[in-house]
Subunit: 193 residues, 2 copies
């Protein structure tokens, strides 16, 4: 959503379950008071057993204060049996694929609403290729993480194929998770032991 | 887990819920047949309404064949109310923090078992700072994703503080999700519309 777009589509009402007027009002509020845009998300995790752990999504900072999700969210992750885990949850790397699909899709719905496009269906498949010789320490020439990720979208709505494709393109251009995966984020690790 | 370590600790039994002998046997199998290490993880996602979508973790390829988790996993994600979402799930970026904590913790448990260290507690907190002016398209000088992520571990077990700290260090060095976040992964997006 560029500024031009915002101005052009300012008159539009809610669409796709997106409250577009409130979204535009939020953009205006953040433009006037940039500190509202500073967010901090937080997760706590505890080891359960073997390669299994459980994370809890914690309250987050943003919009000028401490915010709580309306529900409590906890998620298990584990390694699969073929990697000598108990398979008591998806692998951590699968959650990365979920995050990417969900981020691109949420943005797409917002952008469609802002552009006055009604969506009828959005489906995607995300595939991540990984050679485990990296993380198993078997080969120094193989990276630990995904070598590549492919996302395949099916988008249906009341616009031309080119306009629907442009929604995905713009969503990619504004996606937090796409940025995290395709660009570097510095990670600091501290240990108390 | 370097080769030297593997050799040194080969006699050790299961520990921390990690079946260390089978883990070492798996390493040997992959060394002998590197194609076993080629994995592909997959998630499908469908848009629900507004910024909410739901992902399903699909069967994955690896260890020479198609693998199924022992359970079905589906996860919702949404934008929070302060971002004009319905808050019907955590945000996509929170799942990234979960993935990071879970990946580092799983690796830590494996490495501790391989080193003969019994863990009694592993807890972590992950915080991600993000300035939403990037993804909202308000400032070109602000990135879309996290500016930085901090992980704070508390590790307890029958080893010295230095040995426990070294577990986290080695887990970081072998973590798939740490690599995805701190290094670039190419992402290809294809759209059918």
């Amino acid at each position: 959503m560029t500024t031009m777009e915002t101005t052009k589509t300012r008159e539009r009402g809610p669409r796709n379950g997106v409250d577009t007027p409130t979204l535009f009002a939020t953009l205006d509020a953040v433009k006037a008071q940039p500190d509202l845009a500073k967010f901090q998300f937080r997760v706590t995790n505890r080891w359960v057993k073997g390669t299994r752990s459980r994370s809890r999504v914690e309250p987050f900072q943003g919009a000028g204060g401490e915010q709580r999700h309306k529900a409590e969210y906890e998620y298990d992750a584990d390694h699969p049996a073929v990697l000598v885990g108990a398979d008591d949850g998806p692998t951590p790397v699968e959650f990365v694929l979920h995050a990417l699909a969900a981020c691109l899709t949420a943005g797409l719905a917002n952008i469609a609403a802002a552009r006055g496009i009604t969506l009828t269906e959005v489906r995607s498949t995300v595939e991540g290729d990984i050679d485990l010789r990296g993380l198993l320490g078997i080969s120094k020439d193989v990276r630990n993480g995904y070598e590549r990720i492919r996302v395949s979208f099916d988008v249906k709505g009341d616009a031309s194929p080119a306009e629907l494709q442009a929604l995905v393109e713009q969503s990619k251009n504004r996606s937090a998770v796409f940025d995290v995966i395709t660009n570097r984020v510095p990670v600091e690790i501290e240990v108390r032991a």
